[in-house]
């Protein structure tokens, strides 16, 4: 009986520790075959109520997006968006997004973990965070109906040039 109790406690601690592990697992698209270089992709965290995005690092060895965003105003619940992007011809292309929320009403803590959902959006991207608004052009810079990720990784598509639908 005592062994079972100790085992249960250890299992509980293990789950809690894994949930609080720093870093967001890298989404699978970053390891797919791509016509262009995906190794230069970057990640940034946008927080509602804050205009400047917070740069994060992509650690491919650990397979995680890591980093911290300081100087975030506390006191309310905030929504966040993790953008994956590349720079093409000097223009920022958002390839995909993951959403999350964080309750900052407890101002006694100075470090808050932000749960980033695993669901990945490559087309219905969130532009404005508060109120949340879907902005299709965010993940489709040229507005031709094909998302940035698809055009970026396609060998004949140009993410910054609108092409007719159905063109190869």
């Amino acid at each position: 009986m005592r062994r079972l109790l100790v085992l249960g406690v250890l299992m509980g601690c293990g789950e809690s520790q894994s949930a609080l592990d720093s870093g967001v697992p890298l989404p699978a698209f970053l390891s797919l075959q791509c016509a262009r270089d995906l190794s230069q992709a970057g990640a940034r965290l946008r927080v509602s109520g804050h205009t400047a995005a917070c740069p994060l690092s992509i650690d491919r060895e650990q397979g995680k997006v890591v980093g911290e965003c300081a100087s975030i105003s506390a006191g309310v619940e905030r929504s966040v968006v993790l953008d994956y992007y590349v720079l093409l011809d000097g223009e920022l292309l958002v390839l995909a997004q993951q959403n999350g929320r964080v309750d900052l009403s407890n101002t006694e803590l100075d470090r808050h973990p932000v749960m980033i959902q695993s669901a990945l959006a490559t087309r219905r991207c969130v532009g404005n965070l508060n109120p949340a608004e879907i902005n299709f052009s965010l993940c489709d810079n040229d507005g031709d109906g094909l998302e940035n990720l698809a055009e970026y990784c396609h060998d004949t598509r140009e993410p910054l040039i609108a092409e007719r639908s159905g063109d190869p």
Binding site: A19, D110, H112, I116
Partner: protein, 187 residues
């Protein structure tokens, strides 16, 4: 015309008001057993024709000239007895009047004297009226200016502090650090 205007301007204003008479019928006789009737007469001009009318036993009115015992004061001394009926009249030198206290129809009627008249005279004593001391309760007194200023300052500071606190509460300023982590796949 100019001379006439200057004379009119220089001339004193004419007295058009009759004398004013104050009288209090006595109730006590003096030490010699006489009534002392006193009349206080005031006027802007000199007085004229002051007279005390006394009703005799046959109903006829006889006149007694009062003696001026002090400025604005007249006195008549007559043996004290009950039932004395009298009135007083006076003019000023401009003919304003007569001002009467009492009249032949409604004269003063004195009762039998009671007690002794004090030796003090109304024209001698200086009337010093001490105003009654009014004590205002503290809650009706206006607060001192420094107390008002202190109260207003305290209220303003309290309001400022409350407003600042409310503002801080409504607009979070505490800064925190966010650490992105991945949500677990299993619920």
């Amino acid at each position: 015309m100019i001379t006439l205007a200057a004379i009119l301007w220089a001339a004193p204003a004419a007295d058009l008001n009759p004398p004013r008479v104050g009288h209090e019928p006595p109730t006590a006789a003096d030490l010699q057993g006489n009534w002392r009737l006193w009349f206080e007469v005031r006027d802007e001009s000199a007085l004229f024709g002051a007279a005390l009318y006394i009703e005799a036993a046959d109903g006829q009115w006889t006149t007694i000239e009062p003696e001026q015992v002090a400025p604005e004061w007249f006195e008549v001394i007559i043996p004290a007895k009950g039932g004395l009926r009298y009135f007083f009249e006076v003019f000023d030198e401009h003919g304003n009047g007569p001002t009467r206290v009492g009249s032949s129809e409604v004269p003063f009627v004195l009762k039998a004297p009671v007690g002794k008249l004090p030796v003090t005279r109304p024209w001698n004593k200086s009337v010093e009226v001490t105003p009654p001391k009014v004590v205002v309760p503290w809650w009706l007194k206006p607060p001192p200016r420094r107390v008002v200023y202190a109260a207003l300052g305290t209220a303003a500071l309290t309001g400022l502090a409350y407003g600042s606190w409310s503002l801080l509460k409504a607009r979070p300023v505490a800064k925190v650090t966010l650490i992105p982590i991945g949500a677990s796949e299993s619920p």
